[in-house]
């Protein structure tokens, strides 16, 4: 199929449409036995016209035909350690560090050091756990927002919200990122509770440790253990900065 050489130049040229030649149809044109009529055609999804292209698409998905482009090898760098205070994890690839950083240090609550998978969940947590204004408003109106992005429902209590998540959004009843605050403790106590929850000494900044989940005691017994030393909420050591206890070893369980 030889294409006229001027065609490539036309493609590279300026946009424009041809001035159409005059159209002049004869009534005899469509007369039987001739039945041609110029018309556009549309094909629906399952039409067999698409078979060949669809098969090519799926061969590609199955990786059989040639790849579209090659990706360069992931570069290794000289070993370096995480710069966050208290964390000494070492890495030799930037992507590994990226994942580590975002998982452990990315969306971390500065009040209680819990890590969250996304900014959205972190914001929700801070609002519901550490904002006293929220508590006041929650007494009078629905403040607990549904956790699913795009759902604008709000609820009176976190329990109602959980029920909504389970019934409406088919979330698991033990969804890990929706731990309710028990009772109406002031925000300050949360920091000690966070320490109490951590089991393994090395997991300083963590949320609840996963492996303990199946056997985690219900929250009330732990609460009883840490009602001792409360810092009044009016005292803040660094203008809202995190109360940085680096190691939870200090925070051993007190009777």
């Amino acid at each position: 199929m030889q294409l006229p050489p001027a065609l490539h130049a036309r493609l590279a040229g300026a946009p424009g449409a041809a001035a159409p030649l005059p159209v002049q149809r004869d009534a005899l044109a469509g007369n039987a036995p001739f039945r041609f009529a110029a018309r556009q055609v549309r094909f629906p999804r399952e039409h067999e016209f698409f078979e060949d292209g669809d098969v090519q698409r799926h061969l590609y998905l199955q990786d059989v035909i040639t790849q579209v482009a090659a990706e360069p090898e992931r570069p290794r760098v000289p070993e370096f350690t995480c710069q966050v205070a208290g964390c000494c994890q070492a890495f030799d690839a930037l992507e590994d560090y990226e994942h580590h950083y975002h998982t452990l240090h990315g969306n971390v609550c500065s009040y209680c050091r819990r890590a969250f998978p996304s900014g959205h969940l972190l914001d929700t947590h801070i609002q519901e756990w550490h904002d006293s204004l929220f508590q006041i408003l929650a007494e009078r109106q629905d403040m607990y927002q549904c956790l699913v992005e795009g759902c604008t429902e709000k609820f009176r209590t976190s329990r109602d919200r959980k029920q909504h998540l389970v019934a409406h959004h088919l979330y698991p009843a033990d969804f890990r990122f929706d731990k309710p605050r028990k009772g109406s403790r002031p925000a300050s106590q949360v920091s000690t509770e966070a320490a109490g929850e951590d089991r393994a000494p090395s997991e300083g900044d963590a949320m609840e440790v996963c492996s303990e989940h199946a056997e985690a005691p219900p929250e009330p017994p732990r609460e009883r253990r840490v009602y001792g030393h409360r810092v009044p909420s009016t005292i803040c050591f660094g203008q809202g900065a995190s109360r940085g206890f680096k190691s939870t070893k200090k925070r051993s369980k007190r009777p």
Binding site: Q40, D63, V68, E98, H102, T103, G150, L170
Partner: protein, 487 residues
């Protein structure tokens, strides 16, 4: 874009002939699946670099006791490296279907895996996600559906920031999506569409490609036109998709391929194409077509047809919408460069993928059917003869070529005047000798139009009445050969 993925466990000594044979088998299987409306494909994301570091691709079948031991170590191990190694061993074992079966039958196994997935240990998280991914890729429904408890977490992690992890979650979700309607019935209320709409703003190409894959799987579902596409059209996804298809230096081929297919599934379902047109779909796709035509001339890049195909389909179907016909408006596709681009692509198809010629010609039909301007361009750009060269490819192609020529001829004498000279008439008469009734029928239609609108002073360029009398003689001969259509 492609992480050196070379397909499942390809044996090292595989010859070219064996590969071709495998490909033919797969192709046959896919055709059969499509005819039964069961066309489903999963994508496996395996990092070759990691695999090589792990010393080859030996896949070990793990027994119940071994799986339990690995899970125990991963969960309770003291040393982090030890926990990681245990998960890696588990993941490698899960590449085998038998291990997968054993795994899902073990009580608490998925629960433990999900626990590791949501732990705060980055590397354990990744390995747990890889284990889930292996399971999601299984062809056994029971295995894939065993991953369901993890979906709410996979969706939650889409709004995180670790691109590797998100990519893995997306491919896993994509595999689960095609598994069954039951899975989708869970994912939709869990908010998969808003989650994808938020995630599509990621700057990472690997994430975008994975997202495109997952979305294309969602849109391919049987119930998509009623249940899924309206949700997608109501979100910000279409705008982002069109943005990602803008031609230019930032266009990434792998990403574009996925989203072009997404767009195709949306458009051919005909839910609300007018909306897409108001969002500039015609303009974007038209410009992309021009870009692709330029690209196929530049490089021998394998795989461009993977993008050209859905773009052609989208354009062609969109042109049939009423909203596309607003003449003079910005959405109206009238640029004759589109025609130039299409012919360059037709030539490309002819060499690379002849089975896609009908689709290209279908677009040509939709461009020319109601457009005197495009028909004029066909003439002025000297494209009639190249079109005729396609007549020998196949019957389907021939019918389409003749239809396009009829589109031109039916517009009257001013157009036919340009069709008479040249190869058209002799070639047309040759096609009459063919046996395919559709081809012959279309040829006759064209002939009728040519004769009806024959310029006064017939065939001046051919001298005397040669052309007309030759036609008459041929028709006479053919009708006596028993061709009913000619009669």
């Amino acid at each position: 874009m492609w992480r050196g993925r070379r397909g499942l466990l390809r044996p090292s000594g595989c010859g070219v002939e064996e590969l071709r044979c495998r490909r033919r088998e797969r192709e046959a299987a896919l055709r059969k699946a499509r005819r039964e409306q069961q066309l489903v494909s999963k994508r496996l994301l395996r990092d070759e670099a990691t695999e090589e570091a792990e010393g080859g691709r030996v896949v070990v079948i793990l027994g119940e006791a071994q799986i339990q031991e690995f899970l125990r170590l991963a969960q309770r191990g003291i040393e982090e490296k030890e926990r990681e190694r245990a998960l890696v061993s588990l993941r490698r074992g899960l590449q085998h279907p038998e291990t997968q079966q054993t795994f899902i039958r073990l009580e608490g196994s998925i629960r433990t895996l999900v626990g590791l997935l949501t732990s705060n240990k980055a590397l354990l998280q990744l390995e747990a996600a890889r284990c889930l991914h292996e399971l999601s890729h299984s062809e056994q429904s029971a295995v894939a559906e065993a991953c369901l408890p993890a979906t709410s977490y996979l969706l939650t992690y889409l709004s995180g920031h670790s691109s590797d992890f998100i990519e893995l979650c997306l491919y896993t979700l994509g595999n689960l999506i095609v598994e069954s309607e039951a899975v989708r019935r869970q994912l939709l209320p869990q908010g998969i569409v808003p989650a994808l709409a938020a995630c599509i703003q990621s700057p990472h190409l690997t994430v975008l490609e994975a997202l495109g894959y997952a979305l294309s799987q969602l849109l391919q579902a049987k119930e998509a036109p009623e249940k899924i596409i309206p949700l997608v059209l109501g979100s910000t996804l279409p705008q982002h998709i069109l943005q990602l298809l803008q031609p230019g230096p930032k266009l990434n081929l792998g990403v574009a391929v996925e989203f072009a297919w997404c767009l195709h599934y949306i458009i051919c379902s005909q839910v609300n194409n007018a909306l897409l047109i108001t969002q500039g779909a015609l303009t974007t796709l038209g410009l992309l077509l021009l870009d692709l035509a330029a690209a196929v001339q530049r490089t021998e890049d394998a795989g461009l047809e993977l993008l050209v195909c859905p773009v052609v389909r989208c354009l062609s179907n969109l042109l049939t919408e009423a909203a596309a016909e607003t003449v003079g408006g910005p959405m109206h596709l009238q640029d004759e460069r589109v025609l130039a681009a299409l012919f360059i692509l037709l030539q490309f198809f002819l060499h690379k993928q002849p089975s896609l010629l009908p689709e290209g010609l279908w677009l040509l039909n939709n461009l020319t059917a109601n457009s005197p301007s495009f028909c004029t361009s066909l003439i002025s750009l000297d494209l009639i003869e190249p079109l005729l060269h396609l007549l020998s490819v196949s019957n389907v192609v021939s019918v389409l070529v003749l239809t396009v020529l009829c589109n031109v001829a039916e517009k009257g004498p001013a157009y036919c005047q340009h069709l008479w000279p040249g190869l058209l008439l002799p070639t047309l008469l040759d096609t009459l000798a063919l046996s395919d009734t559709e081809v012959v029928g279309q040829s006759v239609e064209l002939l009728q139009l040519l004769f009806l609108y024959q310029p006064g002073g017939v065939c001046r360029t051919q001298g005397s009445n040669f052309g007309v009398s030759y036609c008459r003689q041929t028709l006479y001969r053919l009708s006596h050969q028993g061709s009913p259509i000619i009669q």
